[in-house]
Protein backbone atom coordinates (compact mmCIF):
# COMPACT_ATOMS: atom_id res chain seq x y z
CA UNK A 1 0.00 0.00 0.00
CA UNK A 2 1.26 3.44 -0.88
CA UNK A 3 1.41 5.99 1.94
CA UNK A 4 1.63 8.84 -0.55
CA UNK A 5 -1.48 10.50 -1.83
CA UNK A 6 -2.08 9.75 -5.48
CA UNK A 7 -1.17 12.63 -7.74
CA UNK A 8 -4.68 12.89 -9.14
CA UNK A 9 -6.23 13.15 -5.68
CA UNK A 10 -3.66 15.76 -4.71
CA UNK A 11 -4.58 17.91 -7.72
CA UNK A 12 -8.27 17.54 -6.87
CA UNK A 13 -7.64 18.72 -3.32
CA UNK A 14 -5.74 21.69 -4.64
CA UNK A 15 -8.32 22.52 -7.30
CA UNK A 16 -10.36 25.13 -5.34
CA UNK A 17 -7.25 27.10 -4.44
CA UNK A 18 -5.85 26.84 -7.95
CA UNK A 19 -9.10 28.05 -9.51
CA UNK A 20 -9.31 31.01 -7.15
CA UNK A 21 -5.69 31.91 -7.75
CA UNK A 22 -6.24 31.66 -11.47
CA UNK A 23 -9.13 34.12 -11.15
CA UNK A 24 -7.64 36.65 -8.75
CA UNK A 25 -3.93 36.38 -9.58
CA UNK A 26 -3.40 34.59 -12.90
CA UNK A 27 -5.94 36.47 -14.97
CA UNK A 28 -5.15 39.95 -13.58
CA UNK A 29 -1.45 39.36 -14.14
CA UNK A 30 -1.92 38.30 -17.76
CA UNK A 31 -4.25 41.24 -18.28
CA UNK A 32 -1.65 43.63 -16.84
CA UNK A 33 0.80 42.18 -19.36
CA UNK A 34 -1.68 42.86 -22.18
CA UNK A 35 -2.49 46.36 -20.92
CA UNK A 36 1.18 47.26 -20.81
CA UNK A 37 1.23 47.13 -24.62
CA UNK A 38 -1.79 49.44 -24.95
CA UNK A 39 -2.66 53.05 -24.26
CA UNK A 40 -5.78 51.99 -22.29
CA UNK A 41 -7.36 54.40 -19.80
CA UNK A 42 -8.58 53.24 -16.41
CA UNK A 43 -12.19 54.05 -17.26
CA UNK A 44 -13.73 53.95 -20.71
CA UNK A 45 -12.05 52.70 -23.87
CA UNK A 46 -10.04 49.50 -24.03
CA UNK A 47 -7.16 51.30 -25.70
CA UNK A 48 -5.12 50.54 -28.81
CA UNK A 49 -2.08 48.34 -29.21
CA UNK A 50 1.03 50.54 -29.04
CA UNK A 51 3.75 47.89 -28.90
CA UNK A 52 6.69 48.73 -26.68
CA UNK A 53 5.88 52.44 -26.63
CA UNK A 54 5.02 52.47 -22.87
CA UNK A 55 8.30 50.78 -22.01
CA UNK A 56 10.31 53.04 -24.31
CA UNK A 57 8.81 56.15 -22.74
CA UNK A 58 9.39 54.81 -19.23
CA UNK A 59 13.04 54.01 -19.73
CA UNK A 60 13.65 57.46 -21.15
CA UNK A 61 11.78 59.29 -18.36
CA UNK A 62 13.57 60.94 -15.47
CA UNK A 63 10.61 60.25 -13.16
CA UNK A 64 11.10 56.50 -13.59
CA UNK A 65 14.85 56.51 -12.93
CA UNK A 66 14.44 58.84 -9.98
CA UNK A 67 11.74 56.58 -8.48
CA UNK A 68 14.00 53.59 -9.12
CA UNK A 69 16.84 55.24 -7.21
CA UNK A 70 14.55 56.27 -4.34
CA UNK A 71 13.13 52.73 -4.10
CA UNK A 72 16.58 51.13 -4.14
CA UNK A 73 17.90 53.56 -1.53
CA UNK A 74 14.87 52.96 0.69
CA UNK A 75 15.12 49.17 0.37
CA UNK A 76 18.90 48.87 0.79
CA UNK A 77 19.32 51.31 3.67
CA UNK A 78 16.26 50.30 5.68
CA UNK A 79 17.01 46.58 5.30
CA UNK A 80 20.66 47.15 6.25
CA UNK A 81 19.67 49.01 9.43
CA UNK A 82 17.12 46.31 10.28
CA UNK A 83 19.73 43.57 9.82
CA UNK A 84 22.45 45.21 11.93
CA UNK A 85 20.10 46.34 14.67
CA UNK A 86 18.22 43.02 14.60
CA UNK A 87 21.38 40.93 15.02
CA UNK A 88 22.75 43.18 17.77
CA UNK A 89 19.47 42.99 19.67
CA UNK A 90 19.37 39.20 19.23
CA UNK A 91 22.92 38.87 20.59
CA UNK A 92 21.91 41.01 23.55
CA UNK A 93 18.76 39.03 24.31
CA UNK A 94 20.66 35.75 23.94
CA UNK A 95 22.63 36.68 27.07
CA UNK A 96 21.23 35.56 30.37
CA UNK A 97 20.08 38.53 32.41
CA UNK A 98 17.04 39.57 34.36
CA UNK A 99 14.29 41.11 32.26
CA UNK A 100 15.32 39.61 28.95
CA UNK A 101 12.10 37.63 28.64
CA UNK A 102 10.13 40.85 29.03
CA UNK A 103 12.28 42.45 26.32
CA UNK A 104 11.70 39.47 24.03
CA UNK A 105 7.97 39.89 24.54
CA UNK A 106 8.20 43.59 23.72
CA UNK A 107 9.73 42.78 20.33
CA UNK A 108 6.36 41.58 19.08
CA UNK A 109 4.79 45.03 19.62
CA UNK A 110 6.23 47.02 16.67
CA UNK A 111 5.71 43.98 14.45
CA UNK A 112 2.02 43.75 15.43
CA UNK A 113 1.40 47.49 15.03
CA UNK A 114 -0.45 48.06 11.73
CA UNK A 115 1.84 49.71 9.15
CA UNK A 116 -0.59 52.56 8.64
CA UNK A 117 -0.74 53.32 12.37
CA UNK A 118 3.05 53.21 12.46
CA UNK A 119 3.11 55.78 9.65
CA UNK A 120 0.61 58.00 11.45
CA UNK A 121 2.56 57.70 14.71
CA UNK A 122 5.84 58.81 13.09
CA UNK A 123 4.10 61.55 11.16
CA UNK A 124 2.99 62.96 14.50
CA UNK A 125 6.49 62.54 15.98
CA UNK A 126 8.04 64.37 13.00
CA UNK A 127 5.44 67.16 13.00
CA UNK A 128 7.21 70.45 12.10
CA UNK A 129 5.35 72.63 14.61
CA UNK A 130 4.45 70.43 17.56
CA UNK A 131 6.24 67.11 16.99
CA UNK A 132 7.96 65.20 19.77
CA UNK A 133 11.24 64.83 17.86
CA UNK A 134 11.65 68.58 17.44
CA UNK A 135 10.68 69.19 21.06
CA UNK A 136 13.12 66.56 22.33
CA UNK A 137 16.07 67.71 20.21
CA UNK A 138 15.55 71.36 21.04
CA UNK A 139 15.05 70.70 24.77
CA UNK A 140 18.30 68.72 25.06
CA UNK A 141 20.09 71.32 22.95
CA UNK A 142 20.87 69.23 19.84
CA UNK A 143 18.79 71.45 17.58
CA UNK A 144 18.41 75.24 17.49
CA UNK A 145 14.93 75.49 16.06
CA UNK A 146 12.12 73.21 14.91
CA UNK A 147 12.59 71.52 11.53
CA UNK A 148 10.19 70.10 8.98
CA UNK A 149 11.59 66.57 8.83
CA UNK A 150 9.09 65.28 6.29
CA UNK A 151 8.75 68.59 4.45
CA UNK A 152 12.42 68.86 3.55
CA UNK A 153 13.52 66.84 0.47
CA UNK A 154 16.91 66.33 2.15
CA UNK A 155 15.54 64.59 5.24
CA UNK A 156 12.17 63.10 4.20
CA UNK A 157 13.53 59.77 2.92
CA UNK A 158 15.79 59.34 5.94
CA UNK A 159 12.86 60.05 8.25
CA UNK A 160 10.78 57.40 6.44
CA UNK A 161 13.60 54.88 6.69
CA UNK A 162 13.84 55.39 10.46
CA UNK A 163 10.09 54.80 10.81
CA UNK A 164 10.25 51.66 8.66
CA UNK A 165 13.34 50.28 10.41
CA UNK A 166 11.76 50.80 13.83
CA UNK A 167 8.78 48.66 12.85
CA UNK A 168 10.76 45.92 11.13
CA UNK A 169 13.99 45.34 13.09
CA UNK A 170 12.14 43.27 15.73
CA UNK A 171 11.30 40.65 13.10
CA UNK A 172 14.98 40.27 12.21
CA UNK A 173 15.83 40.15 15.91
CA UNK A 174 13.28 37.36 16.51
CA UNK A 175 14.56 35.33 13.56
CA UNK A 176 18.18 35.79 14.64
CA UNK A 177 17.33 34.87 18.21
CA UNK A 178 15.72 31.62 17.05
CA UNK A 179 18.82 30.89 14.96
CA UNK A 180 21.10 31.54 17.95
CA UNK A 181 19.17 28.99 19.95
CA UNK A 182 19.86 26.47 17.19
CA UNK A 183 23.62 26.65 17.85
CA UNK A 184 24.46 23.47 19.78
CA UNK A 185 25.45 24.24 23.37
CA UNK A 186 28.38 21.78 23.18
CA UNK A 187 30.03 23.66 20.30
CA UNK A 188 29.80 26.97 22.12
CA UNK A 189 31.18 25.45 25.30
CA UNK A 190 34.03 23.80 23.34
CA UNK A 191 35.00 27.13 21.77
CA UNK A 192 35.16 28.74 25.21
CA UNK A 193 37.28 25.87 26.57
CA UNK A 194 39.59 26.23 23.57
CA UNK A 195 40.11 29.88 24.53
CA UNK A 196 38.41 31.54 21.56
CA UNK A 197 37.67 35.20 22.31
CA UNK A 198 34.22 36.74 21.92
CA UNK A 199 34.84 37.92 18.37
CA UNK A 200 36.28 34.60 17.20
CA UNK A 201 33.33 32.78 18.80
CA UNK A 202 30.89 35.01 16.94
CA UNK A 203 32.74 34.74 13.63
CA UNK A 204 33.41 30.98 13.58
CA UNK A 205 30.82 29.43 15.88
CA UNK A 206 27.72 31.64 15.79
CA UNK A 207 27.78 33.26 12.36
CA UNK A 208 27.63 30.00 10.36
CA UNK A 209 24.32 29.21 12.10
CA UNK A 210 23.05 32.75 11.68
CA UNK A 211 23.96 33.20 8.02
CA UNK A 212 21.21 31.07 6.47
CA UNK A 213 18.21 32.47 8.36
CA UNK A 214 19.61 35.99 8.05
CA UNK A 215 19.91 35.62 4.28
CA UNK A 216 16.29 34.48 4.09
CA UNK A 217 15.16 37.36 6.28
CA UNK A 218 17.20 39.82 4.26
CA UNK A 219 15.82 38.78 0.90
CA UNK A 220 12.23 38.68 2.18
CA UNK A 221 12.59 42.12 3.74
CA UNK A 222 14.23 43.48 0.60
CA UNK A 223 11.33 42.24 -1.52
CA UNK A 224 8.85 43.82 0.89
CA UNK A 225 10.83 47.08 0.94
CA UNK A 226 11.03 47.15 -2.85
CA UNK A 227 7.23 46.96 -3.07
CA UNK A 228 6.77 49.64 -0.40
CA UNK A 229 3.64 51.74 -0.66
CA UNK A 230 1.60 52.19 2.53
CA UNK A 231 4.08 53.80 4.94
CA UNK A 232 5.16 56.29 2.26
CA UNK A 233 1.63 57.06 1.14
CA UNK A 234 0.49 57.93 4.66
CA UNK A 235 3.62 59.86 5.64
CA UNK A 236 4.55 61.87 2.52
CA UNK A 237 2.52 60.70 -0.52
CA UNK A 238 5.85 60.61 -2.35
CA UNK A 239 6.71 64.23 -1.65
CA UNK A 240 8.20 66.72 -1.02
CA UNK A 241 9.34 67.42 -4.58
CA UNK A 242 9.01 63.67 -5.30
CA UNK A 243 11.96 62.95 -3.01
CA UNK A 244 10.20 59.91 -1.52
CA UNK A 245 8.28 58.79 -4.60
CA UNK A 246 8.97 55.05 -4.92
CA UNK A 247 8.03 52.89 -7.90
CA UNK A 248 4.78 51.70 -6.31
CA UNK A 249 3.73 55.29 -5.60
CA UNK A 250 4.56 56.16 -9.21
CA UNK A 251 2.35 53.31 -10.47
CA UNK A 252 -0.50 54.50 -8.27
CA UNK A 253 -0.24 58.03 -9.63
CA UNK A 254 0.12 56.91 -13.23
CA UNK A 255 -2.64 54.29 -13.26
CA UNK A 256 -5.12 55.71 -10.75
CA UNK A 257 -4.53 59.45 -10.37
CA UNK A 258 -3.85 60.09 -14.08
CA UNK A 259 -5.89 57.03 -15.15
CA UNK A 260 -3.23 55.93 -17.65
CA UNK A 261 -3.79 52.19 -17.12
CA UNK A 262 -1.51 51.11 -19.97
CA UNK A 263 1.59 52.94 -18.90
CA UNK A 264 0.91 52.16 -15.24
CA UNK A 265 0.75 48.47 -16.15
CA UNK A 266 4.12 48.56 -17.89
CA UNK A 267 5.69 50.19 -14.84
CA UNK A 268 4.09 47.60 -12.55
CA UNK A 269 5.64 44.83 -14.64
CA UNK A 270 9.09 46.35 -14.31
CA UNK A 271 8.70 46.27 -10.52
CA UNK A 272 7.55 42.65 -10.85
CA UNK A 273 10.67 41.84 -12.83
CA UNK A 274 12.92 43.40 -10.19
CA UNK A 275 11.10 41.53 -7.42
CA UNK A 276 11.34 38.28 -9.41
CA UNK A 277 15.12 38.64 -9.60
CA UNK A 278 15.15 39.02 -5.82
CA UNK A 279 12.79 36.06 -5.41
CA UNK A 280 14.96 33.80 -7.59
CA UNK A 281 17.95 34.76 -5.45
CA UNK A 282 15.80 33.77 -2.47
CA UNK A 283 15.00 30.31 -3.85
CA UNK A 284 18.65 29.68 -4.69
CA UNK A 285 19.68 30.68 -1.18
CA UNK A 286 17.04 28.42 0.40
CA UNK A 287 18.20 25.47 -1.74
CA UNK A 288 21.79 26.12 -0.78
CA UNK A 289 20.94 26.41 2.92
CA UNK A 290 18.95 23.17 2.76
CA UNK A 291 21.76 21.44 0.86
CA UNK A 292 24.24 22.33 3.56
CA UNK A 293 22.12 20.84 6.28
CA UNK A 294 21.27 17.51 4.70
Amino acid sequence: MNTNLTTLRAWLLMLPLLLIMLAVIGWPFVDTLRLSFTDARLVGTGGDFVGLENYRRLFSSDAFWRAFRVTTAFAVISVLIEMVLGVLVALLLFQDFRGRNVLRALLILPWALPTVVNALLWRLIYNPEYGALNALLVQVGLLDSYRSWLGDPNSALAALIVADAWKNFPLVALISLAALHAVPQAIRAAAIVDGANAFARFRYVILPYLAGPLMVAMVLRTIEAFKVFDIIWVMTRGGPANSTRTLSILVYQEAFSFQRAGSGASLALIITLAVTVLAVAYVILIRRAAGEKF
Binding site: M1, N4, T6, T7, A10, W11, L13, L17, I20, V24, I25, P28, F29, D31, T32, L35, V43, V89, L92, R100, A105, L106, L107, I108, L109, A112, L113, P114, T115, V116, V117, A119, L120, R123, L124, Y130, A132, A135, V138, Q139, L174, A178, A179, G212, V216, F226, F229, D230, W233, V234, R237, V251, A255, F256, G264, I271, T272, V275, A279, A289
Partner: protein, 281 residues
Protein backbone atom coordinates in the same frame (compact mmCIF):
# COMPACT_ATOMS: atom_id res chain seq x y z
CA UNK B 1 30.61 28.72 32.38
CA UNK B 2 32.27 32.04 31.65
CA UNK B 3 32.72 34.51 34.47
CA UNK B 4 30.92 37.76 33.79
CA UNK B 5 32.67 41.00 34.70
CA UNK B 6 30.83 43.84 36.40
CA UNK B 7 31.44 46.09 33.39
CA UNK B 8 29.76 43.55 31.12
CA UNK B 9 26.75 43.31 33.42
CA UNK B 10 26.41 47.08 33.43
CA UNK B 11 26.65 47.06 29.64
CA UNK B 12 23.92 44.36 29.40
CA UNK B 13 21.47 46.17 31.64
CA UNK B 14 22.11 49.55 30.01
CA UNK B 15 21.57 48.11 26.53
CA UNK B 16 18.45 46.31 27.72
CA UNK B 17 17.06 49.52 29.12
CA UNK B 18 17.85 51.42 25.91
CA UNK B 19 16.08 48.73 23.88
CA UNK B 20 13.01 48.93 26.09
CA UNK B 21 12.90 52.72 25.67
CA UNK B 22 13.43 52.43 21.91
CA UNK B 23 10.46 50.07 21.58
CA UNK B 24 8.12 51.57 24.15
CA UNK B 25 8.66 55.31 23.77
CA UNK B 26 6.76 55.71 20.47
CA UNK B 27 3.86 53.62 21.83
CA UNK B 28 3.83 55.58 25.07
CA UNK B 29 3.88 58.88 23.20
CA UNK B 30 0.96 57.86 20.99
CA UNK B 31 -1.05 57.04 24.08
CA UNK B 32 -0.01 60.18 25.96
CA UNK B 33 -1.01 62.31 22.97
CA UNK B 34 -4.41 60.66 22.95
CA UNK B 35 -5.14 61.76 26.54
CA UNK B 36 -3.39 65.15 26.53
CA UNK B 37 -5.31 68.38 26.08
CA UNK B 38 -4.70 70.31 22.87
CA UNK B 39 -3.06 73.05 24.92
CA UNK B 40 -0.52 70.58 26.27
CA UNK B 41 0.19 69.23 22.80
CA UNK B 42 0.88 72.56 21.13
CA UNK B 43 2.81 74.16 23.99
CA UNK B 44 6.48 75.07 23.63
CA UNK B 45 8.41 73.66 25.35
CA UNK B 46 6.26 70.60 24.88
CA UNK B 47 4.46 69.15 27.91
CA UNK B 48 5.51 65.50 27.98
CA UNK B 49 2.86 64.63 30.52
CA UNK B 50 -0.74 65.92 30.46
CA UNK B 51 -1.72 68.32 33.22
CA UNK B 52 -4.91 66.31 33.44
CA UNK B 53 -5.84 63.09 31.63
CA UNK B 54 -8.46 63.87 29.02
CA UNK B 55 -10.40 60.83 27.81
CA UNK B 56 -12.97 62.80 25.85
CA UNK B 57 -11.51 61.87 22.45
CA UNK B 58 -12.17 58.18 23.10
CA UNK B 59 -15.79 59.07 23.74
CA UNK B 60 -15.82 61.21 20.60
CA UNK B 61 -14.39 58.46 18.39
CA UNK B 62 -16.74 55.77 19.68
CA UNK B 63 -19.75 58.03 19.23
CA UNK B 64 -22.01 56.66 16.53
CA UNK B 65 -23.84 59.86 15.54
CA UNK B 66 -23.92 59.91 11.72
CA UNK B 67 -21.36 62.03 9.83
CA UNK B 68 -18.94 62.32 12.72
CA UNK B 69 -15.35 61.08 12.98
CA UNK B 70 -16.62 58.55 15.47
CA UNK B 71 -19.17 57.06 13.11
CA UNK B 72 -16.58 56.89 10.32
CA UNK B 73 -14.00 55.13 12.48
CA UNK B 74 -16.47 52.69 14.01
CA UNK B 75 -17.92 51.64 10.66
CA UNK B 76 -14.34 51.24 9.36
CA UNK B 77 -13.53 49.00 12.33
CA UNK B 78 -16.62 46.92 11.66
CA UNK B 79 -15.67 46.64 7.97
CA UNK B 80 -12.13 45.58 8.86
CA UNK B 81 -13.38 42.91 11.25
CA UNK B 82 -15.78 41.52 8.64
CA UNK B 83 -13.49 41.72 5.60
CA UNK B 84 -10.61 40.09 7.49
CA UNK B 85 -12.94 37.37 8.81
CA UNK B 86 -14.44 36.54 5.40
CA UNK B 87 -11.03 36.52 3.74
CA UNK B 88 -9.47 34.39 6.48
CA UNK B 89 -12.23 31.78 6.44
CA UNK B 90 -12.18 31.59 2.63
CA UNK B 91 -8.38 31.36 2.54
CA UNK B 92 -8.36 28.51 5.07
CA UNK B 93 -11.17 26.67 3.30
CA UNK B 94 -9.07 26.41 0.15
CA UNK B 95 -5.61 26.21 1.67
CA UNK B 96 -6.18 23.42 4.23
CA UNK B 97 -6.75 20.77 1.52
CA UNK B 98 -3.99 22.34 -0.56
CA UNK B 99 -1.48 22.37 2.27
CA UNK B 100 -2.25 18.74 3.05
CA UNK B 101 -1.94 17.68 -0.61
CA UNK B 102 1.37 19.53 -0.90
CA UNK B 103 2.61 17.83 2.23
CA UNK B 104 1.54 14.30 1.21
CA UNK B 105 2.03 14.11 -2.56
CA UNK B 106 5.66 14.69 -3.62
CA UNK B 107 4.58 14.78 -7.27
CA UNK B 108 2.79 18.12 -6.84
CA UNK B 109 5.45 19.69 -4.66
CA UNK B 110 6.80 21.89 -7.44
CA UNK B 111 3.56 23.84 -7.36
CA UNK B 112 4.52 25.13 -3.91
CA UNK B 113 7.13 27.24 -5.69
CA UNK B 114 4.38 28.71 -7.87
CA UNK B 115 2.24 29.41 -4.81
CA UNK B 116 5.08 31.18 -2.99
CA UNK B 117 6.00 33.00 -6.19
CA UNK B 118 2.56 34.57 -6.41
CA UNK B 119 2.91 35.76 -2.83
CA UNK B 120 5.87 37.82 -3.98
CA UNK B 121 3.99 39.52 -6.81
CA UNK B 122 3.68 43.22 -6.08
CA UNK B 123 0.00 44.23 -5.67
CA UNK B 124 0.50 47.00 -8.24
CA UNK B 125 0.95 44.29 -10.90
CA UNK B 126 -2.62 43.07 -10.31
CA UNK B 127 -4.34 46.29 -9.29
CA UNK B 128 -5.52 47.67 -12.63
CA UNK B 129 -7.26 44.51 -13.94
CA UNK B 130 -8.67 43.80 -10.48
CA UNK B 131 -10.09 47.32 -10.41
CA UNK B 132 -11.65 46.92 -13.85
CA UNK B 133 -12.90 43.43 -12.96
CA UNK B 134 -14.49 44.53 -9.70
CA UNK B 135 -16.05 47.53 -11.44
CA UNK B 136 -17.48 45.25 -14.13
CA UNK B 137 -19.01 42.92 -11.54
CA UNK B 138 -20.35 45.81 -9.45
CA UNK B 139 -18.13 44.76 -6.55
CA UNK B 140 -16.18 47.99 -6.11
CA UNK B 141 -16.70 49.45 -2.66
CA UNK B 142 -18.12 46.22 -1.22
CA UNK B 143 -16.79 44.18 1.68
CA UNK B 144 -17.20 40.98 -0.31
CA UNK B 145 -15.21 42.30 -3.26
CA UNK B 146 -12.37 43.43 -1.03
CA UNK B 147 -12.32 40.07 0.79
CA UNK B 148 -12.05 38.25 -2.56
CA UNK B 149 -9.09 40.45 -3.49
CA UNK B 150 -7.47 39.71 -0.13
CA UNK B 151 -7.44 36.05 -1.11
CA UNK B 152 -4.57 36.97 -3.46
CA UNK B 153 -2.49 37.71 -0.38
CA UNK B 154 -3.85 35.26 2.19
CA UNK B 155 -4.36 32.01 0.27
CA UNK B 156 -0.75 31.50 -0.97
CA UNK B 157 0.57 32.46 2.45
CA UNK B 158 -1.66 30.12 4.44
CA UNK B 159 -1.12 27.25 1.97
CA UNK B 160 2.62 27.54 2.50
CA UNK B 161 2.31 27.86 6.29
CA UNK B 162 -0.06 24.87 6.49
CA UNK B 163 2.15 22.70 4.29
CA UNK B 164 5.05 23.13 6.69
CA UNK B 165 2.63 22.54 9.57
CA UNK B 166 1.28 19.28 8.11
CA UNK B 167 4.77 17.91 7.33
CA UNK B 168 5.62 16.77 10.89
CA UNK B 169 2.32 14.87 11.33
CA UNK B 170 3.26 11.22 10.79
CA UNK B 171 1.90 9.55 7.68
CA UNK B 172 1.59 6.24 9.54
CA UNK B 173 -1.65 7.42 11.11
CA UNK B 174 -3.18 7.95 7.68
CA UNK B 175 -1.89 4.56 6.52
CA UNK B 176 -3.44 2.87 9.56
CA UNK B 177 -6.72 4.63 8.87
CA UNK B 178 -6.62 3.56 5.23
CA UNK B 179 -6.02 -0.06 6.24
CA UNK B 180 -8.99 0.16 8.59
CA UNK B 181 -11.04 1.26 5.60
CA UNK B 182 -11.39 4.99 6.19
CA UNK B 183 -12.21 7.13 3.18
CA UNK B 184 -10.00 10.08 2.28
CA UNK B 185 -12.44 12.66 3.62
CA UNK B 186 -12.86 10.69 6.87
CA UNK B 187 -9.10 10.54 7.36
CA UNK B 188 -8.84 14.27 6.82
CA UNK B 189 -11.78 15.19 9.03
CA UNK B 190 -11.44 12.76 11.91
CA UNK B 191 -7.67 12.30 12.11
CA UNK B 192 -5.75 15.12 10.51
CA UNK B 193 -7.81 18.20 11.34
CA UNK B 194 -7.73 17.67 15.12
CA UNK B 195 -3.98 17.02 15.02
CA UNK B 196 -3.44 20.05 12.84
CA UNK B 197 -5.71 22.35 14.84
CA UNK B 198 -2.82 24.37 16.37
CA UNK B 199 -1.24 24.88 12.94
CA UNK B 200 -4.53 25.92 11.43
CA UNK B 201 -5.06 28.31 14.33
CA UNK B 202 -1.67 29.88 13.71
CA UNK B 203 -2.39 30.23 10.00
CA UNK B 204 -5.75 31.86 10.77
CA UNK B 205 -4.12 34.31 13.17
CA UNK B 206 -1.47 35.34 10.63
CA UNK B 207 -4.04 35.63 7.86
CA UNK B 208 -6.27 37.81 10.02
CA UNK B 209 -3.42 40.13 10.97
CA UNK B 210 -2.30 40.37 7.33
CA UNK B 211 -5.80 41.31 6.22
CA UNK B 212 -6.18 43.81 9.07
CA UNK B 213 -2.92 45.49 8.06
CA UNK B 214 -3.67 45.69 4.31
CA UNK B 215 -3.89 49.19 2.87
CA UNK B 216 -3.14 49.38 -0.85
CA UNK B 217 -6.12 47.40 -2.19
CA UNK B 218 -8.43 48.90 0.43
CA UNK B 219 -7.42 52.40 -0.66
CA UNK B 220 -8.11 51.56 -4.31
CA UNK B 221 -11.26 49.49 -4.06
CA UNK B 222 -13.29 51.17 -1.30
CA UNK B 223 -14.67 54.68 -1.18
CA UNK B 224 -17.14 55.13 1.69
CA UNK B 225 -18.51 53.77 4.96
CA UNK B 226 -19.94 50.69 3.26
CA UNK B 227 -16.53 49.08 2.76
CA UNK B 228 -13.72 51.42 3.86
CA UNK B 229 -11.43 49.58 6.26
CA UNK B 230 -9.73 50.96 9.32
CA UNK B 231 -6.37 51.40 7.56
CA UNK B 232 -7.98 53.70 4.99
CA UNK B 233 -9.89 55.57 7.70
CA UNK B 234 -6.60 56.13 9.56
CA UNK B 235 -4.88 57.38 6.42
CA UNK B 236 -7.80 59.75 5.80
CA UNK B 237 -7.45 61.14 9.31
CA UNK B 238 -3.66 61.47 9.09
CA UNK B 239 -3.85 63.26 5.75
CA UNK B 240 -6.93 65.34 6.54
CA UNK B 241 -7.20 68.80 7.95
CA UNK B 242 -7.74 67.92 11.59
CA UNK B 243 -6.14 70.48 13.88
CA UNK B 244 -6.30 68.29 16.99
CA UNK B 245 -3.33 65.90 16.83
CA UNK B 246 -4.64 64.17 19.91
CA UNK B 247 -7.68 63.01 17.95
CA UNK B 248 -5.45 61.48 15.25
CA UNK B 249 -3.40 59.76 17.96
CA UNK B 250 -6.58 58.41 19.57
CA UNK B 251 -7.71 56.92 16.28
CA UNK B 252 -4.26 55.32 15.98
CA UNK B 253 -4.57 53.77 19.45
CA UNK B 254 -8.02 52.39 18.65
CA UNK B 255 -6.90 50.89 15.32
CA UNK B 256 -3.74 49.41 16.82
CA UNK B 257 -5.37 47.93 19.92
CA UNK B 258 -6.85 44.72 18.42
CA UNK B 259 -3.68 43.49 16.62
CA UNK B 260 -1.31 44.60 19.38
CA UNK B 261 -3.37 42.85 22.08
CA UNK B 262 -3.57 39.76 19.83
CA UNK B 263 0.19 39.98 19.43
CA UNK B 264 0.85 40.12 23.15
CA UNK B 265 -1.55 37.33 24.05
CA UNK B 266 -0.52 35.02 21.20
CA UNK B 267 3.16 35.94 21.13
CA UNK B 268 4.49 32.40 21.56
CA UNK B 269 2.48 31.17 18.60
CA UNK B 270 3.38 34.19 16.49
CA UNK B 271 7.10 34.04 17.23
CA UNK B 272 7.35 30.34 16.42
CA UNK B 273 5.37 30.93 13.22
CA UNK B 274 7.58 33.84 12.22
CA UNK B 275 10.83 32.04 12.83
CA UNK B 276 10.26 28.41 11.77
CA UNK B 277 10.16 29.14 8.06
CA UNK B 278 13.51 30.85 7.96
CA UNK B 279 15.42 28.89 10.58
CA UNK B 280 14.36 25.39 9.61
CA UNK B 281 14.38 26.16 5.89
Amino acid sequence: MEHRSLAFSVFLYTSGLLLAVLILAPFAWLFIMSISSTTDLISKPLHWWPAQADWSRYRLLTDLTPNTHGAALMSALKNSILVAAIATVAALAVSVPTGWALSRAPAVNWSLGVVIGTYMLPPVALAVPLYMGLAGLGLLNTKFGLAVVYLTILAPFTAWLLKSGFDPIPKDIELAAAIDGARLDQTLRILILPLAAPVIGTAALFAYLLAWDEFFYALLFTSDHRAKTVTVAIADLAGGRIADYGLIATAGVIAALPPVLFGLVMQRTLISGLTTGSVKG
